[in-house]
């Protein structure tokens, strides 16, 4: 989780990712951020996120995103 927060902090240093749970709905993340996140997650977690998992529910909070990474890592 710390590793993920670190990635997110690099994109948005001014956001509190521990508590924020509307990253998509409140417009904090944009399309460039999503692409950057997916690339970084691929590089640092060795997890590739398939297109059908790129949905708002999985990106609204650091926790949701971490769940996704864990789930994909187990598969």
């Amino acid at each position: 989780m710390d590793k993920l927060i670190e990635i997110l902090k690099e994109i948005h240093p001014d956001v509190d990712f521990e508590t924020e749970n509307a990253l998509v709905d409140d417009g904090i993340l944009d399309s460039l951020d999503i692409v950057t996140l997916i690339t970084e997650i691929n590089d640092r977690f060795d997890v590739s996120i398939p297109a059908e998992e790129i949905i708002p529910e999985n990106f609204n909070s650091a926790a949701a995103l971490y769940d996704l990474i864990t789930r994909l890592d187990e598969d």
Partner: protein, 506 residues
């Protein structure tokens, strides 16, 4: 009788196809007839309030209603300036200083933002004026006085000194652009556009003007979908969108995240892109998926109305070959000029200069900046003839096609937006505690990196910049240094910083 007013497109189409949807966001479907009537109502309202030949700001979120406001402003003989809630407040203030608008039309979502603005202008809620009684006699009198060199809009673009520049364009230029664009790429009445670009640029003219000319339909795709490729393709298929004119990054988002295989957009038959380099691997993925679609690379500056050149993808590109810009639209000439204002050698590099009706009226309220780039054609000393110097360096390849080579200055293209790095630097320098600043573009990783000196943290600076700069202009990373590297001559060493930028993580 030939066309002298852009509204004649709308009036003709509303007669022929009154009930067809002109613009939609998927929730509201605005027919040509409703669009026409609302535009006339708003035009009548503005005219009876005494507005004429002046800028009227439209401060509304992207929605079919915006078009009623735009055309309403044109009916009144004024010109529209679109402002969007995505724009940072400080930038909007700079634009208002430049315009000194007398009237602002806003929607309820932006009421608070409008109230924050100072200035001697009247505010009108769109919903309050959309159903004003229209007065054909009054609108007819305005029409009679209008000529085709009167402006219809101002679009703001990045300015290197930190103040955005407002490009004003007239009926004549927009009609010329609409006619020649439709002819070059083959839009028709069956065209269903899926719009991606914000309405405060010239880019959406590609969809708006052909829609009213031909009786086509434009869908404004919700911005959020451009983060979620499968959902975006669902949307394209649901509304049978067959034509897109998108920035390259929007197309590559779909292809690079694997959505083309899982959920291909099946109705696409025309794909126009431009404004930046299309990574060849992604380009090939698109070509392989949409085998029946025609692909066009479009090129052109805001100062020449919209797009000026096109290239249809109909031959294989050699490895490493950039996608050409191609050739100019009819009634536009591209000249490649060297530093002395002479024609470049055959096959040699030169500044891309544009000649034609498409050349706009220049920068609003800024004759100094205008005269720097809207200049007398140096190849013609005999009579007055303005050309626009783009600052882009180009050359003609062995196929006789125009190719973009580089920029003369520090202007960059990022996420499809044209950005002056100097504007970002100027904004950073306004922040208390910053001493020096330099911005570079890492083209490979597509990110802006800023280096600065001063006693504040990158977090504080980033937060500060959010008030000044639109999202796409924010540096991906601000790096605090003790001193900025200098060249032997004591100038900022931009080359060194560009190299350093490549090695910085995120």
């Amino acid at each position: 009788m030939y066309l002298t007013n852009i509204l004649e497109y709308l009036e003709k189409t509303a007669r022929e196809l009154p009930d067809k949807t002109a613009f939609s966001d998927g929730d509201e479907f605005k027919s040509f007839n409703v669009l026409l009537n609302e535009s006339k109502s708003i035009g009548t309202f503005l005219a009876s309030e005494g507005y004429y030949k002046e800028p009227v700001v439209i401060f509304m979120n992207k929605h079919p209603d915006c078009l009623s406001a735009f055309f309403g402003v044109i009916y009144s003989g004024c010109f529209y300036v679109a402002i969007d809630s995505e724009m940072p407040q400080k930038r909007i203030e700079l634009i208002f200083e430049k315009l000194s608008p007398g009237a602002v039309i806003y929607d309820s979502k932006n009421a608070d933002r409008v109230n924050l603005l100072s200035g001697n202008f009247h505010k009108y809620l769109f919903d309050d004026i959309r159903e004003s009684v229209s007065d054909d006699k009054l609108l007819g009198e305005i029409r009679k006085k209008q000529i085709d060199t009167d402006p219809i809009y101002i679009v703001f673009t990045s300015g290197s000194t930190g103040v955005p520049k407002g490009v004003a364009a007239c009926h004549r230029s927009v009609i010329d652009y609409t006619e020649t664009l439709c002819e070059a790429v083959g839009f028709d009445r069956e065209t269903v556009f899926g719009n991606q670009t914000p309405l405060y640029f010239d880019a959406p003219l590609k969809e708006i003007m052909p829609t009213i000319k031909l009786g086509a339909t434009t869908f404004f795709i919700p911005k959020q979908l451009f983060m979620f490729p499968i959902k975006l393709c669902d949307y394209l298929n649901k509304y049978r969108i067959n034509t897109v004119c998108w920035v390259v990054s929007a197309l590559t988002m779909i292809s690079s995240l694997g959505a083309l295989e899982k959920n291909p957009p099946v109705y696409l038959r025309l794909i126009c892109f431009g404004s930046e380099v299309f990574p060849i691997k992604q380009y090939e993925l698109w070509r392989k998926t949409c085998v029946n679609a025609r692909f066009f690379n479009l090129y052109g500056p805001t100062e020449a109305t919209g797009m000026s050149c096109y290239w249809e993808a109909c031959r294989e590109l050699e490895p490493g070959e950039p996608i050409p810009i191609g050739k100019p639209f009819r009634n536009t000439e591209i000249m490649l000029l060297d530093e002395n204002g002479r024609e470049a050698e055959p096959g040699g590099e030169g500044e891309i200069c544009i000649r034609g009706t498409c050349v706009t009226l220049g920068y609003y309220n800024d004759s100094e900046k205008t005269s720097e780039v809207f200049v007398q054609n140096p190849l013609n000393r005999a009579y007055s003839e303005l050309i626009y110097r783009t600052g882009d360096i180009g050359k003609i390849n062995k196929h006789g096609e125009l190719v973009f080579v580089s920029r003369k200055d520090s202007q960059i293209k990022h996420m499809g937006h044209r950005i002056e790095l100097g504007e970002i630097e100027s904004s950073i320098l306004t922040c208390e505690g910053v001493r020096q600043a330099c911005c570079v573009y890492d083209a490979e990783k597509k990110r802006i990196i800023s280096f600065y000196t001063g006693n504040l943290t990158p977090e504080v600076l980033t937060k500060y910049l959010r008030d000044f700069l639109p999202r796409y202009m924010l540096p991906a990373k601000c790096v605090n240094l003790e001193i900025l590297p200098l060249t032997a001559n004591g100038k900022l060493d931009r080359r060194k910083m560009s190299e350093d930028a490549r090695n910085i993580e995120v």
